[in-house]
């Protein structure tokens, strides 16, 4: 069972994510902003992180930057949930090491498909050496 963390401040989107992920076997975590998300990343060591762009306290890009700077979570793929107009932010996010992005409004089926695809891909990705012993299983 994979762990997926969603960082999203909007209660509506949070609820939509929870409903969308129902019926999958994954363990779903929700953080209300980037700072909350960073704490949860370290605590829960998720397999995949989705983050909104604009959030109070710490935004999605800062979260990605923090994760990439932190060796034991740097390998976790981060996917940006964003609106199509924010091209510059998307570019910036990719420069920060963001793995992919999904555009709002998104359909629950697309979200589930994206989670499934990235879990497969991240399983195939080389695991960083310093984390290899712990994450070998």
């Amino acid at each position: 069972m994979a762990k997926v963390l969603f960082c999203e401040d909007s209660p509506i989107i949070q609820k939509l994510i929870l409903f969308s992920m129902r019926g999958t076997s994954h363990e779903v975590f929700v953080a209300v902003d980037g700072a909350d998300g960073m704490a949860m990343v370290e605590r829960t060591q998720p397999d995949l992180v989705f983050t909104d762009l604009y959030m109070p306290r710490m935004d999605g890009i800062s979260l990605t930057r923090s994760m990439k700077a932190c060796p034991n979570v740097a390998h976790i793929p981060v996917i940006l949930i964003t609106a199509s107009g924010e091209v510059e932010s998307i570019d910036e996010a990719y420069r920060m090491g963001m793995a992919s992005h999904i555009l709002k409004p998104f359909s629950p089926a697309t979200l589930r498909q994206m989670v499934a695809d990235w879990l497969v891909r991240s399983a195939c990705l080389p695991v960083p050496s310093d984390a290899s012993s712990r994450d070998a299983g």
């Binding site: 909007s10 509506i12 989107i13 939509l16 409903f19 969308s20 604009y54 109070p56 306290r57 409004p105």
Partner: protein
């Protein structure tokens, strides 16, 4: 004179000629008698003193001799007349510059006349003729005498004739010159008076001695008022063109000085005694009179007020245009930002509507969940609808399409209702009411005031992300009713406190960027409050919270 006429002795003749010369000298000394009178007198004198039957003045006109004036002594003149012979004779003498003055004592033995008469009988006994030349040496004509019989000329006769001729030409030329000067003077005076340029003539003490019509008109004073004054005393105030003060020394140097050097195109602003303001472009030139050190000054000026006003208008129009362009550019940028913001804000409820409806469509949900998601979809749709309303509302209010419908309203009721409406959906934000029970009713648009209070409460909730109390109060301050909404939110940086009321403006870096909304709530609040004649402002402390205040006039019947 007739008594003195005795036959022939030379002495009498000589005395007569001498007396004639003296008389001519007296006539010539008389200053400026009309030329015609002078010529008549000279002809009379010469005729009388030389005992001539006919004395005359002939003037060349082209090549013909015109007899201008004659003096005749009746008894001897009649047989002489002006024959064609004498006319031809004098005409020939006038035209021929080589001819000299002659006195012919016996005309019947004069070879010239014999030749011209061609053997015919002729009545002339004796004659004399002086060719006259103008001062430029061009031939003028002749002075002549005709006598009925041969005679003996006396010493000095020729001198008398020459002097008479000279006096005549001088008198004629002087008269012509006087006429020319008079015409020129009249022309100058007419030009001086008619010119559009104002002219003042100043004496050596800088007092005005003359002013033309334009000067009277431009300065708003009559020449009589101005004469004797100094120029700076003709105005209430004299300043530089830009209105900056000018010392009396500077004024004097420009308006009255100019003795050592001319003033060229200096622009001054003057205030006339009737308070009218004029811009004058001034030139001042000293006139040197001969070698006299004391000089007069000609001060000329044109009224360039229209030009200055036009320039000022153009300048201010350009500045206004530029400011308008800058405002437009800023508004345009803000509008682009707004579109980005709105599209972002629209996406959240849209994502909910699309996502939840997809989940409902796929039918994995219990009956309770169907109701719950249905309610969520409804709420999101309402939110979208409200955002659209706000956009349209603000546009309509700003463009003046919507006006207020005023009524007597109780602010406290409106506040309480709005709080009761918003509180259930925000359990983490208790709303505390601090209402002044004495608050009188006031005239305002109920729906719009409700909108203002709802917006401020929603704002307070929105920017207090961690939860916390919201306080809303009312009180009377002066002759206004003041409503204050206090949150314990993130606060607003000082440099953004005015911007938040601007249409389409949203914080680009501040935490407000993450809040939901159209970005139109506060601009709407300001527009509505200002349409009521009130005002809205904010006090804030970063990370401690903000208090939004608005005040509405109490008595004003809006």
């Amino acid at each position: 004179m007739t008594a003195a006429r005795v036959d022939g002795p030379a002495l009498v003749y000589a005395e007569r000629v001498t007396a004639g010369l003296d008389m001519l000298a007296v006539v010539a000394r008389k200053d400026t008698p009309p030329a015609g009178d002078l010529i008549g007198n000279i002809l009379l004198l010469i005729g009388e003193f030389l005992d001539a039957g006919l004395t005359g003045l002939g003037r060349l006109e082209g090549s013909a001799l015109v007899i201008e004036q004659v003096h005749s002594r009746g008894d001897v003149a009649l047989p002489l007349g002006m024959s064609s012979l004498s006319r031809d004779l004098f005409q020939m003498m006038a035209r021929n510059s080589a001819m000299r003055a002659v006195v012919v004592e016996d005309a019947r033995r004069d070879p010239l006349l014999i030749e011209m008469a061609g053997g015919d009988e002729q009545p002339i006994g004796a004659y004399s003729c002086v060719p006259l030349h103008r001062s430029d040496r061009s031939p003028y004509g002749v002075l002549f005498t005709l006598h009925p019989s041969a005679r003996t000329a006396q010493d000095g006769e020729l001198a008398l004739l020459r002097l008479g001729g000279r006096l005549i030409v001088d008198a004629l030329e002087a008269a012509a010159l006087r006429q020319e000067v008079r015409i020129s003077d009249e022309r100058m005076q007419a030009a001086y008076m008619a010119m559009a340029c104002g002219v003042l003539i100043l004496d050596q003490s800088s007092a005005i001695i003359d002013a033309n019509h334009a000067a009277e008109e431009i300065l708003g004073l009559t020449a009589r008022d101005m004469v004797g004054r100094r120029v700076p005393d003709c105005f209430l105030e004299v300043t530089h063109a830009d209105g900056s003060p000018m010392s009396l020394e500077e004024q004097t140097a420009t308006l009255a000085g100019a003795r050592d050097r001319p003033v060229r195109s200096v622009v001054l602003r003057v205030t006339r005694f009737d308070a009218a303001r004029r811009w004058l472009q001034i030139d001042a030139v000293p006139i040197q009179k001969g070698h006299d050190a004391a000089t007069e000054v000609v001060l000329s000026f044109i009224d360039i007020s229209e030009r200055m006003r036009a320039q000022a208008l153009i300048r201010s129009t350009l500045e206004a245009q530029q400011a308008a362009n800058e405002r437009l550019a800023a508004l345009n940028r803000a509008k682009s930002d707004f579109i980005l913001t709105v599209s972002h804000e629209f996406r959240t409820p849209l994502t909910g509507i699309l996502g939840f409806s997809e989940i409902l469509r796929d039918g994995w949900t219990s009956a309770d969940e169907v109701r719950e998601l249905g309610a969520d979809i409804h709420a999101d749709a309402k939110r979208l609808s409200r955002m659209v309303d706000e956009i349209l509302d603000l546009d309509a209010l700003l463009s003046g399409c919507l006006s207020l419908t005023c009524d007597w309203i109780n602010l406290n009721h409106i506040i309480a209702n709005a709080a009761a409406e918003i509180e259930p959906s925000h359990p983490r934000h208790p709303i505390r009411l601090v209402l002044d029970e004495e608050l009188p009713s006031l005239r305002a648009d109920r729906e719009r005031v409700e909108q203002v209070i709802r917006n401020l409460l929603a704002n307070a909730v929105k920017f207090t992300p961690q939860g916390g109390a919201i306080e809303i109060g009312s009180r009377v301050v002066g002759n206004t009713a003041r409503v204050s909404v206090k949150d314990h939110g993130i606060g607003i940086p000082v440099d953004q406190r005015e911007n938040i009321f601007e249409r389409y403006w949203r914080s680009q870096n501040g935490p407000a960027k993450y809040a939901q909304g159209s970005g139109l709530g506060l601009p709407l609040v300001r527009q509505i409050v200002e349409m009521h004649g009130g005002k809205v402002w904010v006090e804030s402390e970063l990370n401690r919270g903000s208090t939004f205040h608005f005040s509405l006039p109490l008595q004003a019947a809006v």
